[in-house]
Symmetry: D2
Subunit: 145 residues, 4 copies
């Protein structure tokens, strides 16, 4: 179908196929196949607070978003999201406000893809960093078939 990597709009549409991704209300900011990088923004909502009234993010939606954004960096190249093998998150600082997640592919092999994700607050400070493995075994870049 497609002749190359998915672009920003295609990734944005894809996100809505998943009820959970739609619930997180993620906005694809950019998709750069040369840098192998996808950037997504996530807004705070009341359900995501750690403690009522603090405005602090609970770590749960941050972990979930890291998983998704990492997956969408590979989806950009493969044409569709891939199964997550594992996910690892380091929480560095309490986070408030809109978060920006930047995912960069470190390796896209025959069976495993490895992606790094940095999570920044509005001031540009690191709130969390993630690393995840995805299964590339069942998929191949669809435009190369």
């Amino acid at each position: 179908m497609s002749d190359g990597p998915l672009n920003r709009q295609q990734l944005q549409e894809r996100l809505l196929h998943s009820p959970f991704n739609a619930f997180l209300d993620l906005e694809v900011v950019s998709a750069d196949p040369e840098k192998q990088e996808v950037i997504i923004r996530m807004k705070m909502r009341p359900e995501f607070e750690r403690l009522t009234g603090t405005g602090h993010w609970h770590g749960g939606p941050i972990a979930a978003a890291i998983d998704i954004v990492g997956d969408y960096a590979l989806a950009m190249m493969f044409g569709n999201p891939l199964p997550t093998i594992n996910l690892r998150v380091d929480y560095l600082r309490p986070g408030k406000g809109t978060l920006t997640l930047a995912a960069r592919i470190r390796r896209s092999g025959k069976t495993v893809g490895v992606v790094d994700v940095d999570v920044l607050n509005e001031a540009g400070d690191l709130v969390a960093i993630g690393r995840a493995n995805y299964s590339t075994a069942i998929s191949a870049p669809h435009w190369k078939e």
Copy 2:
């Protein structure tokens, strides 16, 4: 205040302090300070589906719940939840239906607590396994003060 580890009801009440935990609608099944184990149940809801109509869990709420259940195993001993340092999740099988999460403390040191979490489906198959580190540096078991 308390004279010992938090019990099942106390942990259940504590969960509602956090809007995100309340949203996940977790049910504390048991809290066993001798085994150092807390078991929690999480029901499927439409927002948690990976793809509409499949009934499959998205990995995001599973990761979030692993973080929380691990934390509550330590909260049982410390009297309150602790900051998560890091979280690691291995996804083993697609999951459907109500999930049971069993968290067991592997080490509770002066600065770091280490907890393992198994996630099972209704048939008792492993859906995911998690491991996380929490900061014990600022807290001490409150009944030992």
Copy 3:
């Protein structure tokens, strides 16, 4: 060739194919295909000390041994060691003397195997715990071919 899982002696011989494994001088204590568990012992040697004269293990050989023992749990089932995808180690206590490493397969899937490893000192205290992923994509249990 073989009609089933590798036994203790076969795993012990296999270890010597690798110069690094031979250098670590690991002793296979048991190999139990029903429990999906392999136990290996590792003796201290002067090169493995963290600081001269302390008798404390450096974390490096512990991490290396966790990788190997986890791999050999799968090797028991697959007939040969598999490529390591990733390795994670939590250090829980300083370790001295001979260490016992117990590896248990948590999942052996079509592309990824997941193994947990506990590392104990002579008193039976946990020194470290590990978890690793191995690539099962290119191999199949050889006696099933």
Copy 4:
């Protein structure tokens, strides 16, 4: 004693305090406190081969070196190595020849330091990537005391 971060020579001397580090024969290439980065080189030796005669690195010494180099990035700032809390390694490609390990501090907090390590072969390809947590709780930058 010191009035600031340790320099390349001081880190090189420090490495020899540990029999295991000395055995790995690591060479500190650079130590840059502004970039929060330390670069170290590790030469192949026969004990480190995965299989005799292949020239391929066993993953064990790579994991061990990631731990050490990450620690030495923090040692540059704190004046001495710190206890490793945990270590995570993703193996991306088989590695041969001399390896270059570049460690960069991502966060140096009151109780935990987080460091990323890239491992490159002589062609500049990524062989492995690591991430580790170290305990900063008992230490403070010594020149700030």
